[in-house]
């Protein structure tokens, strides 16, 4: 069964505007709204699973491209769609209980679904201006969600995020305008066709630079990362999980990869730029994370470091393709990057959810004020340990496999020093998560935390769900699953600018 692609965007969008109606109905209305929002995220997950392995082009309003707007579902889109829906289903389930601490729950659910709609739109859009519009929908919803607590610190973080995020969006908008001026099209397939015909001129090269800065700001790559360590810890825990888990990847990494690989085509200099940005983020993020005393802030810096791995994998792949190297090596590097992206989405959102559970029980985020919580919060401890083992890269868990692939790819392509840095940053990651285990779960239980209880119910279900995924994600490398889920996504990027020909051919059939 093929699901019409706009459903992925329209269902969360329409439900989002339906939910505030329930806010005036009191307690019962709030419960109905929560159930409805959870139903939407779960059904999006089911639909995302159902649309794996398809390649489809959808023309909105039956206007054929390049006149109309089109939505494209290919391997990369369906991988991201799957990741978005897994994380959002878990975060939504978690917030059913967690958000009882806050007022205006219906508004929260509305903004949450708007963010999901925006991200699905970014992933599915085949039109670069609509990509920008959906990017703004997701960003604006996230600005509001970061400041949802309305305390001084949260509003400050939200304002900072909004200013830097808007600068990023404006860079993207200028780039879109330049691309339109130079190619006469907004459709990504036709832009790519025009570039293949006439080559890059100065305007398009400048647009490329603007895209790198704009999407780099959204992805929090190192020179542009200043907003992330404030914004991610200030948000409510499920939103931190969404932001770190998937938002920076969809708005930053996916959009950048799509534009660099499929629209403009990779060049050697662009490959090197991505490799350098990736390495910078990895090393700087890891060093900054080790020194943190705030649980969620540590996780936020660690996100910057982990994003570096993804960009490094994509950059290495792009570099090998641009040098006409062995496509199998390029494919392996990109596989490592994308696999790490999916893994990081799962374990980082789990880590943020456990930090939320700890914060809800103890009322603090400072590592030094906690201790000995292993006996009081057994499930949180267990899931947090699984996630930490994953992010550090301990064998059966997911993070190990993606890092292993990255190291193998780097060695095969004779980038020995890159492989060394990957292993070194892994060690730094080990240090920071040992620190989390040591301060939060081991050691002496402070006097004031003797009476705390663990929050069960939906929060527990969400955490256990993600912890199971952490253990099982390694199975994605089994050939049967890999050829359906990961390999199509890798092929989209390694095929590069033949994306244009594929989409145009596909839309002729429709």
């Amino acid at each position: 069964m093929s699901i019409p692609l706009p459903v992925f965007i329209a269902v969360p969008l329409v439900t989002a505007f339906l939910l505030p109606v329930f806010s005036s109905l009191g307690r019962k209305g709030k419960a109905v709204a929560t159930v409805l929002a959870n139903f939407v995220t779960v059904s999006l997950l089911v639909m995302a699973v159902a649309s794996i392995g398809q390649f489809r082009v959808y023309e909105v309003g039956k206007w054929s491209i390049p006149l109309g707007i089109n939505l494209v579902l290919d391997g990369l889109s369906s991988l991201l769609l799957l990741a978005i829906s897994v994380v959002s289903a878990a975060a939504m389930l978690f917030s059913a209980r967690y958000m009882e601490q806050y007022t205006a729950k219906a508004k929260y659910l509305c903004l949450f679904l708007l963010m999901v709609a925006g991200m699905n739109g970014v992933v599915l859009s085949g039109d670069i201006f609509n990509l920008f519009v959906f990017l703004e929908i997701a960003s604006i919803a996230s600005y509001a969600l970061v400041g949802f607590g309305c305390e001084h610190e949260e509003l400050e973080a939200s304002f900072k995020y909004m200013v830097l995020g808007s600068i990023g969006s404006i860079f993207v908008l200028f780039a879109v305008a330049l691309v339109y001026g130079n190619t006469g099209s907004l459709n990504m397939a036709y832009i790519s066709k025009a570039i293949q015909g006439s080559g890059l001129n100065a305007g398009l090269s400048f647009a490329m630079a603007l895209f790198v800065v704009g999407f780099g700001l959204k992805a929090a790559l190192v020179p542009f990362h200043a907003w992330l360590p404030d914004a991610h810890p200030s948000a409510p825990a499920p939103i931190s999980a969404m932001l770190s888990g998937i938002l920076i990847k969809t708005l930053g990494i996916y959009a950048l990869a799509r534009v660099v690989f499929n629209v403009f085509g990779v060049s050697v200099s662009m490959g090197w730029l991505l490799v350098v940005l990736g390495l910078l983020s990895m090393v700087a993020g890891a060093f900054l994370a080790i020194g943190q005393e705030d649980f969620k802030r540590l996780l936020a810096y660690s996100s910057i470091s982990q994003i570096g791995y993804v960009v490094l994998g994509l950059g290495l792949g792009g570099l090998i393709i641009a040098r006409d190297g062995n496509v199998a090596w390029a494919s392996l590097a990109i596989l490592g990057g994308l696999f790490h992206l999916v893994n990081h989405a799962v374990y980082k959102s789990l880590l943020f959810l456990t930090s939320g559970s700890v914060q809800m029980s103890t009322g603090t985020r400072q590592l030094k004020q906690m201790g000995g919580l292993a006996e009081k919060l057994p499930f949180t401890r267990a899931t947090c340990t699984v996630a930490s083992a994953s992010i550090v890269g301990i064998p059966p868990f997911s993070g190990f496999w993606s890092k292993l692939i990255l190291v193998i790819a780097a060695v095969q392509a004779h980038f020995y020093w890159v492989a060394a840095i990957i292993v070194f940053v892994s060690l730094c990651t080990l240090i920071m998560y040992l620190k989390v285990q040591r301060y939060v779960f081991l050691g002496e239980l402070p006097e004031n935390l003797q009476q705390i209880k663990e929050n069960k119910g939906s929060m527990l279900v969400a955490m256990v769900f993600l912890a199971c995924l952490c253990g099982l994600m390694g199975l994605l490398l089994v050939p049967a699953l890999r050829s359906n889920i990961l390999q199509p996504a890798v092929d989209v990027l390694t095929d590069g600018i033949s994306y244009s020909a594929n989409v145009i051919k596909m839309s002729m059939k429709v």
Binding site: P6, L13, V14, Y58, G61
Partner: protein, 158 residues
């Protein structure tokens, strides 16, 4: 005394109706003349903003309270989504498919008729509602959060 002088109040209470009517005109003729949902919505909102400037925020809120405006905002968005989804459901044609008759082009019986162009006027109405309500809300909320000192100052001047 709340708001501005009697001259401003009298004039704006007349002009407000005309502005509102003009907004409705822009929305309804959006598919035939320049304008449409967004432009008309801005004009609708501006009539309420004029009311707010002349009579003070409380008076404007009595006319259109915050919860009602918020509901209208949601209804506008829902209507727009519903028009788009109807296209999808109508004979499984397509998202945003113009499923009502479309004889609006020059040379047909419906040339420049008010009721023509299929779903476009419906979308315009939905967008007008959405934009009007949300712009009004933006100005209302901004006026609520002005610092207390400046509020006292402006009252003293009157």
């Amino acid at each position: 005394m709340k708001g501005m002088t009697i001259i401003v109040k009298t004039i704006s209470s007349w002009v407000k109706v005309l502005i509102f009517l003009f907004g409705i005109y822009i929305i309804l003729f959006g598919h035939l003349t320049p304008g449409g949902g967004f432009a008309g919505g801005v004009i609708l909102a501006s009539s309420y903003v004029l009311l707010m400037l002349a009579f003070g925020r409380e008076f404007a809120e009595e006319n259109l309270s915050l919860p009602v405006a918020s509901k209208l905002d949601c209804v506008g968005a829902l209507l727009f989504g519903a028009v788009a989804l109807c296209g999808l459901l109508y004979g499984a044609a397509g998202f945003f498919w113009n499923f009502i008759h479309q004889e609006y082009l020059v040379g047909t019986d419906y040339e420049f008729n008010l009721v023509s162009a299929g779903t476009i006027p419906l979308s315009n109405i939905a967008i007008g509602l959405k934009v009007g309500a949300s712009l009004f809300l933006v100005v209302l909320v901004l006026s609520m959060f002005r610092p207390d000192t400046s509020a006292e100052d402006s009252n003293e001047k009157e």
